[in-house]
Amino acid sequence: MGLLTEFFKGLKVTGGTMLRTITGREVVTTEYPKEMREKPQRFHGRHVLNRYPDGMEKCIGCELCAGACPAHCIYVRGMDNDPEAPTSPGERFGYVYEINMLRCIFCGLCVEACPTEAITMTHLFEMSTTNREDAIYTRETLLMDTQGNVPHMFPDDPLADQEELLTADGWLRATASSGAAAYEGVQMWQGTPGPADWDPEPDQDARDSKQSDDADG
């Protein structure tokens, strides 16, 4: 008799699951190419080279990212800015910028090393290619345009989610070295590609005043 009750208990479990699945309460599968799961805010996706809101490139060609890279997948060559029409606010800019995505381990050390927050990581993860050359991302593929859109290897690809490209990264803001009180109201960097119009972080004022207190004392 015990066996029989167990049998009906089992039927109840599967039957209940079926009812919940049919009414859509328990399906955990997302039909991936059709619908994208929301990725965590600090997701390490492919890189992007950012611009200042005025359109200047942030990269100054210092090669610190290449030095920090444990996989040696970044190659940077700097070049002096043309004083008449500078590409970046500094002395130099990243003239050649290549990341070999076959080698990259997506650790994010380049992002931490960058002094100007020029390189950050997006939520893009669809990077499959049919030949090795395409896996080496150049300056052209990495650099966002002046509107803040991140270029995609295959812009016509249904997988290229333009919405996501515009709201790519958040984690950099949390770890940024900038944001000191002296620059209140001055936008030095932006964590999100695109037009810079974000609100200050909730406790920005408190932190700024603490920093200025420390400086005074």
Partner: protein
């Protein structure tokens, strides 16, 4: 025989055949969908609306695949086995009446492949033939896992066929006691279940023969090698069992036979115990003519659904558990029920022996 009579026979067979293929296409998809629902998955949804053409896609794929023949096979038996699986599977369903007879002109067309007066015996014989397919496939593959699967199939089929046969005998005796002259024919078994008791409870055999129904249900699950009795093709233990060495269309035939068997066994259970195509008919003549088939399909699909439900629920039995359930539980239960039911029928027909 006039040509009209021949045409009617051909029509009956073709209609039954088409119905069987159609429901099999739906069943394969339905099983995957239902089991997916029971496991919180989505299931096939790419081919056609709700993935309903998945079976067609699978069939086409298997059809165009290479049928590999391993070097060590016994070629004759190896090639014969898939046909031995499919042909009895289809023949079994030919015995099942799946709708009320209707008349075209002066001829009566029964919706049944063929009404043999030994229908039930034929079904038992054919389901034994299907075991040959599994055993021969296992043996002729010249490989160890198929052989194990084949041996398991023999033992399992013999054990559970006994229980199934005994449950059938109880029904046949009951039907005969109701005054049916041809209690082995499925058409007369359905006829004997017409009407109701007191206008409410239908005169289905499940009510007087409930124990036989339970035994029969368990036995047909084992007979069709379905979970939890799928030791014959236990993927986790013996790769694919008897069909390990089959590929392409030859494998597809085993696959087809399995699903045809599920449906025809469920149809037999519905016919023997749930009144077959009996049910209230109403409405205009065309609706009234189609309704019995719909009742039949509903009853059959209740049992088919039970097959899927049990498959999604229960883990596979161990071999000794399988044997002990068959020989120590089901067969004694079926025997005891047969005796009880026979005695009851005897009392009813001839009165108590001491009176």
């Amino acid at each position: 025989m006039t040509w009209e009579e021949i045409a009617i026979v051909v029509l009956r067979v073709v209609m039954t055949f088409v119905l069987l293929l159609l429901v099999t296409v739906i069943n394969v998809w339905a099983e995957r969908k239902i089991v997916a629902d029971m496991q919180s998955r989505i299931g096939p949804n790419r081919a056609g609306p709700w993935g309903i053409l998945q079976t067609v896609a699978d069939g086409l794929k298997l059809f165009f695949k290479e049928s590999v023949t391993p070097r060590k096979v016994e070629l004759g038996m190896y090639l014969l086995a898939p046909f031995l699986a499919v042909i009895p599977a289809f023949l079994i369903f030919m015995m099942v009446p799946w709708g009320a007879p209707f008349t075209i002109g002066e001829y009566e067309v029964a919706l049944q492949g063929a009404d043999l007066h030994i229908g039930l015996l034929f079904i038992l014989a054919m389901s034994s033939m299907a075991v040959y397919a599994v055993v021969l496939a296992g043996w002729s593959s010249g490989s160890k896992y198929p052989l194990i699967g084949g041996v398991r199939a023999t033992a399992q089929a013999i054990s559970y066929e006994a229980a199934m046969g005994l449950a059938m005998v109880a029904v046949v005796l009951w039907t005969a006691s109701l005054g049916s002259e041809n209690a082995l024919s499925l058409a007369s078994i359905v006829e004997a279940q017409q009407g109701t008791w007191g206008g409410i409870i239908p005169r289905w055999n499940i009510f007087p023969q409930v124990a036989a129904f339970v035994v029969f249900l368990i036995a047909i699950v084992a007979e069709t090698n379905r979970a939890p009795f799928d030791l014959v093709e236990a993927e986790q233990e013996i790769v694919g069992g008897f069909h390990t060495e089959y590929s392409g269309m030859r494998f597809a035939m085993f696959f087809l036979a399995e699903y045809v068997n599920i449906f025809s066994m469920s149809a037999i259970a519905a016919t023997l115990f749930l009144g077959g195509w009996n049910g209230p008919t109403f409405g205009p003549p065309i609706v009234a003519a189609v309704l019995p088939t719909i009742w039949f399909l509903i009853k059959t699909y209740v049992i088919v659904f039970l097959f899927f439900w049990i498959r999604a629920t229960l883990p596979r039995l161990r071999y000794d558990q399988l044997m002990s359930l068959g020989w120590k539980r089901l067969i004694p239960a079926a025997l005891v029920w047969l005796i009880v039911s026979t005695v009851a029928i005897g009392f009813r027909q001839f009165g108590a022996p001491w009176s």
